[in-house]
Symmetry: D2
Subunit: 82 residues, 4 copies
């Protein structure tokens, strides 16, 4: 499993567009030279960034729930920014 | 587990800054009214977006490895954009 | 005769809008705090920046034509950038 | 006397830079393809936009002072935005 800077940038670019931050999307597209990346945008599903972030949180949740001793613990109010 | 739009926006804003996309960061900060969010930036660790995306991929990897029948499968070349 | 920075900024902002540079107009509006200026946009005629620049060139033309000795001289190919 | 869109854009671009609106200058540079214009920036004196606007106002002042009947009139509070 690995990913490139270009891939992350593309997900961020799509996120900016999909959420209506059109000026940000334009400027980021220019500043990151998004049009010169080799990514086929047609392969990227809608809301891809949000989807992967959600799964990342599920992973964190699983890590915390298991704990170091392998015992499950309860999770309350786990948030993206902690 | 849940997260708000403000939280995702903050991670994206930080990402733009940390990767040196200063014009994009400025414009996104303005367009998303980042300064009006209630997020305490001091609580957000460096490279938070990259970190959560990596964990999201680990989660996807685990999903694929397990498969529907519960049997493990090999994973080759799983990438962020597939 | 005098003019303020706010006035020049407003003419530039209008120019960006009128010529279809919408991302630039947005960013400049934010960066120059255009909404906090006291200028009544309704008083600013269309293409105001272009109009004043044209008159500035006519003034330069007159200066050159007259010369220091008061005698008229011919003008050829006077351009905005010389 | 004439000037091109590229010339006006270059003066505006320089103005944005000279006045410290760096994000705006970047975005306008991209949006107007300033790097593809044929203008030799070395030939453009500092504060060129401000200078030409000042001369434009002097021209307007002269027009008003002379009036239609050729008689001089007093000018009070002529400003850039009227």
């Amino acid at each position: 499993m690995s990913f490139s800077t270009d891939e992350v940038n593309f997900l961020v670019y799509r996120y900016l567009h999909e959420t209506g931050f059109y000026h940000s999307a334009y400027v980021f597209g220019q500043e990151s030279h998004i049009s010169q990346s080799n990514i086929n945008g047609a392969l990227v599903p809608p809301k891809a960034l949000i989807s992967i972030v959600q799964k990342g949180l599920l992973y964190v949740e699983a890590e915390i729930a298991t704990g170091e001793d392998g015992n499950e613990r309860s999770i309350e109010c786990l948030s993206l920014i902690d």
